[in-house]
């Protein structure tokens, strides 16, 4: 999964620069899509809530982190390895404007089971079955 961080990279760009940047982003995205690399992707709205505490007693406004670190969108990649995912992320056109991309392997099972091998696992559903292509 690629997590795109930094939501205000367009500040200070001219109309032409922004047009070029978005053209490159769309071309990057379409290229990956044509190669069957994209399982799902969505931008996220700037709004949101952060919920914490027992029974979710705290509800505060906004994304979790400050704007330059906030997650602005995601992309679920079909890649053969972390290295391939990183190579794809490095081609993301808006990196030059300060966006960063977090690349995280998706797991078939919760890492809690790896840390605690004695835990009983009550369902065997594979990760692939969990992802319904909501963004397709």
């Amino acid at each position: 999964m690629l997590l795109f961080r930094g939501g205000d990279w367009d500040k200070g760009l001219t109309k032409e620069e922004l047009q070029q940047a978005m053209d490159r982003v769309m071309a990057w995205f379409e290229g990956l899509n044509e190669r069957g690399k994209i399982k799902g992707a969505q931008p996220l709205g700037d709004q949101g809530r952060v919920i914490s505490g027992t029974d979710g007693r705290f509800v505060v406004d906004g994304p979790f982190t400050e704007t330059k670190e906030a997650v602005g969108g995601y992309l679920v990649l079909q890649a053969d390895s972390l290295d391939e995912a990183v190579e794809i992320a490095r081609l993301m056109p808006t990196l030059r404007y300060g966006i960063s991309v977090e690349v995280r392997p998706i797991l078939a099972q919760c890492p809690i089971f790896q840390r605690h091998p004695d835990l009983v696992r009550k369902t065997d559903r594979a990760a692939e079955q969990l992802w319904v292509a909501a963004a397709a």
Binding site: D23, G56, C110, W131
Partner: protein, 140 residues
């Protein structure tokens, strides 16, 4: 997918904090994991959760021109790192928040970020405000 409004009724829950199990007994961990899976299965059965995944604790952060900087690890420290996500399809934000408040990890320090899924990238939207109708691929 509608393009008439900025957001749909889809929300992403981002689960933050992937060390909530530290200091818990095996029985407690078993309980939280069982509750979490039952919660997920129930939401899926109700059609309110379309998918979800845990994320591996390792990873890379790519930044800089042409992605010249590749650093190890999730972006944030462990207690803020994203450990997984649910994709929700619900009536409105209130329902998404109500579901987030049911997360079994909250009691042990997990934090749930609720974010609306946007129809159109906010950059495209801003670009379109610059030049209505001129941005190529604006409705892709």
């Amino acid at each position: 997918m509608s393009t008439s409004s900025e957001t749909t009724a889809d929300y992403l829950l981002l689960f933050r904090g992937n060390v909530w199990d530290r200091g818990l007994s095996p029985a407690q961990i078993q309980q939280v994991v069982a509750d979490w899976m039952a919660w997920f299965e129930r939401l899926k059965a109700e059609g309110k959760c379309l998918g979800g995944h845990p994320l591996e604790e390792e990873g890379k952060v790519v930044s800089g021109k042409q992605g010249r900087t590749v650093a190890d690890g999730p972006f944030a420290e462990s207690k803020e790192a994203i450990g997984g996500y649910f994709y929700l399809h619900v009536a409105d934000e209130n329902e998404a928040i109500e579901i987030a408040r049911q997360c079994p990890g909250l009691e042990y320090g997990a934090v749930v970020e609720v974010r609306p899924v946007a129809d159109v990238c906010s950059m495209k939207q801003r670009a379109m405000e610059y030049s209505p109708g001129q941005l190529a691929g604006a409705n892709a």
